[in-house]
Symmetry: C2
Subunit: 308 residues, 2 copies
């Protein structure tokens, strides 16, 4: 069975003024530190190359295009890809993607240990809103600047492990994990940028927001007998606070590594993927236990329909 030393490269804040080169240099430092600990698969956050720009409103959306990457790898990220290949570390990270056709996605990619991109994911569950919302304490305009992902939830065999990706708000949706679980996923990597304050419920509090983040990833891991790595970009970014709380969860739903800081910080867990087999063969043996004849609403109904 496959074992792997898995790393999570939590990142501290990235300010508007920080160049891509400066950010990639931090990612390279984290990669070196991870390799020194034996890591062969390293997970970076969502939008790892830039500040979380959807907090700002631009009437002309094109004003935000400078936060997007038009190709990957590109000049700025080449040092990261090169070092990952040289060290033999597979990586995944998120970035804003602008396609040749002019489409915008919140994207993550996955490489193998040879530094080749083997998988791409585009965020399906975009949170927030499209238009300026003066009732919020801060804006969260992901629905303005990105299209919902068009690739669905896929898995790739990478280093002997069945891997799938999700991004940030996807982690709150059990469908995310289930779509991957139905493809035998053994590791779900999730980068996130999550404001420490709920823009519509100021008194919710950081503790409850961290609890929710843990809860959904632990449940997703247990209910699909998979490892989950949820890795944050954290700290005070351009005056807006993002929560930390990066964790690695095992297939029993237990947190086996957790970040302590809100800065660049490496977390590491030695993962035995044989642990996925028990749940997949017993309580979550889908072949024996799922009853799709009763999942019609889940699969086909978007909005709640409440009886009178």
């Amino acid at each position: 069975m496959t074992t792997m030393i898995l790393g999570g490269a939590q990142m501290g804040p990235i300010q508007q003024a920080d160049s891509r080169a400066a950010v990639v240099a931090r990612m390279v430092d984290l990669l070196r530190a991870a390799h020194a600990k034996g890591v062969t698969m390293l997970v970076y956050p969502e939008l790892a190359l830039t500040t979380f720009f959807p907090r700002w409103y631009a009437e002309d959306r094109a004003e935000m295009d400078h936060w997007f990457e038009t190709e990957m790898p590109n000049g700025a990220t080449a040092p990261l890809f090169d070092l990952a290949r040289d060290l033999g570390v597979a990586i995944t990270f998120g970035y804003a993607e602008l396609t040749p056709e002019g489409r915008h996605f919140n994207t993550s990619i996955l490489t193998n240990r040879q530094g080749e991109i083997v998988g791409k994911y585009r965020k399906v569950h975009l949170p927030g809103h499209v238009e300026l919302d003066p009732d919020r304490t801060h804006q969260h305009l992901e629905k303005r600047y990105f299209e919902p992902g068009d690739l669905g939830f896929n898995v790739w065999r990478n280093g002997g492990v069945v891997m799938g990706m999700a991004i940030c708000n996807d982690r709150r949706w059990p469908e995310t994990y289930r779509e991957l679980g139905l493809q035998g996923v053994e590791l779900v990597t999730i980068g996130y940028n999550t404001p420490s304050v709920n823009s519509q419920l100021g008194d919710e509090g950081l503790a409850q927001r961290l609890f929710h983040s843990d809860l959904v990833m632990q449940a997703g891991a247990y209910q699909n007998a998979t490892f989950v790595a949820g890795i944050a970009k954290a700290g005070l970014e351009d005056g807006h606070h993002l929560m930390g709380g990066s964790i690695i969860v095992d297939p029993n739903g237990m947190v086996i590594a957790r970040a302590d800081t809100e800065d660049d910080e490496l977390i590491v867990a030695d993962c035995d993927f044989a642990l996925c087999a028990f749940g997949k063969a017993t309580v979550f043996d889908f072949a024996r236990h799922r009853r799709i004849e009763h999942y019609t609403r889940t699969g086909t109904q978007t909005a709640a329909i409440v009886p009178r």
Copy 2:
């Protein structure tokens, strides 16, 4: 907005030798205690009238029919229905149902405060196995003695609250809560009989099994912005130990009441169902955020299909 004092009537063990009348007398005592605390909706466990008989193998399944109820209410349960009506307490409890057509289900019913049955649910996710399995430390033959439920997941407006039911192993499946959430559920009632020992993994341990039980109900509550009441039959039943851990969870996924014992025990929570509205209107506003075009596997694929 609707508030309600919700009660959970955890029950201690029911031995093989205990009569239905003796069990109903205990349920009546719990009902009186609940009413004295202002409870207007009381949740009892799965298979509340009998021992958890699927732990025993009978080559001739008909030998188990004496554990089943052929009508509800019936002579044995009439005192419970009568008192619930007289006190104005809505109740839900589970029992083994044998239909006039000879079909067997693991069933629960829901009454209104007038003592009328307003809803019925038949357990969809039957755990365990069909044939005697000598590799297990104990048997769990629900798939032998019951058919999977044929009614799906439904909700009913009861006392101003949108209520749905699930039973035991259903609580581990996110589809359970989502099917109900897509009907605007505000309270999911779940009775259970869960062995304290995993028959296929003896060293799993009670603490982890209680953790899993909490985890799935807390996640289901949060992800659908609903209250969840998970109520156990607990303790040493005919030499086999069932775990307790009955809880009431709020729409934030927080445990707001928890049983301390493994015996007959009432837990109570004052529930403000207005709390469901925030999650349903924001992060879990399904109309804005669900992406059913990417849920096809979840809705239509039973078994995992793992890429080579």
